[in-house]
Subunit: 266 residues, 2 copies
Amino acid sequence: MSIEFSQQKLPVAVVLCRPEISRNIGAVCRSMANNNCSDLRIVGNKSDYDEEEVLRLAIHAGTIWQNARFFEPSVAGLTASIADCCIVAGTTRRVGEKRKSWGMTPEAFASFSLNNAAGLTGIVFGNERTGLTDEELNVCSVAVNIPSAPDFPSLNLSHAVQVVCYTLFRAYSPRKYGYERIPYTRVTSAAEHINSCLCKMGLFKHAGKEDNIRFFQEIIARAALSAREARYLEELFQKLCYVKCQNAAEKEPGMTLQQIQPVPNN
Amino acid sequence: MSIEFSQQKLPVAVVLCRPEISRNIGAVCRSMANNNCSDLRIVGNKSDYDEEEVLRLAIHAGTIWQNARFFEPSVAGLTASIADCCIVAGTTRRVGEKRKSWGMTPEAFASFSLNNAAGLTGIVFGNERTGLTDEELNVCSVAVNIPSAPDFPSLNLSHAVQVVCYTLFRAYSPRKYGYERIPYTRVTSAAEHINSCLCKMGLFKHAGKEDNIRFFQEIIARAALSAREARYLEELFQKLCYVKCQNAAEKEPGMTLQQIQPVPNN
């Protein structure tokens, strides 16, 4: 995934339906900015909100509030707010008898939204206290339920937005931090190197070499070492061996002390 | 996944390292409760926080705060706070040169944490402004980075806790809402039923039947209909056919009107 793509805005509109608490709207702006979403629509009157409170919680995402579009606080307003979306999910924590075929997980919806035809995806979040009404939910094409603890299912509004936007962001912008772990041949050579050092130090004179190599092979593979970590481990044993041999006045002529670079963070 | 299992507490301890804002601690309690986490540890002095503010944001998750354990606000305190954890992730948004081999995604860490040996998993979150220091991060076994927009990477503390706890909850409590879509034979029979109704109504007298069946097969499969929706669609065409035939005084003796049950939410 190129940086260019990951910096593109997600083709996602976030619709807040009759939100009550200005601070929540600010926190929603910040969640959206965290996940490359910038298209905010509010089914409500702008004058009903305290802009200062919104901006205080939005941190540096205030432009999302400033560019937000407002719609009449009614079902007609909600319908107008999503007119340009190709598919619209209403978020709800109710999963009743009649809603069985609804209720995709955020991950399933994100995957659907990503893998099907292009076009704008809408996500509608209801009022903090009441959620979406049946009528509002019926305007949406599908429902999304955020899985949560059965005895504590109600998420804060901005947290719900964070989870759904994060899930969409992850689907649209696959990103992998981390490192490449060493391949099997390198795992084996590291184990053999360690074993050879241990042998030089006098261990495994008669038996146990094979078991020892296998032991190190297994833990090195399971710990999924990076190339740098493997080198560090090898050098550590090499140094141990050098010190031991030097102490025993059995210094080998060809052997040089390799400086071990510490890898505290790698 | 049985309800019994999904209601078990996750084997996860959330550690807040030097949090500053009492309100954030309350919001963290709520996020934890949403995700079946209840083990909160705070590296900080209890007396430094405003309990009323904490409880106001925790909503009904105040017991998490009340049962929280406190540790001296120092690296030694952090170390003590995670003494019983088998693996500890420090969350950080810095992914520097030296941290390359760190930085698992929340999903990768959750999967690791679930799929490896049992034992308590710790997640450490840093101070709101400064995050975890290098020294604090070094106490942890791995780092976790929450993927976010490159130009807006900083998440609110409770949002970060929500994302990581949600991801762990999802890994430990796989849950699928939704419905079973109809199998291919049912897709085909529905398409054939619709076609047969259309034929009775006078369409496709000479040609086009095969194309029409294929058309309905394709859209029914792509829409992933539930059994109830397939029945509704069939009955709709059957009713159309009945009405048409009745109007034309061509009523067939064996045909009865089936009442269509509306499926607004299914």
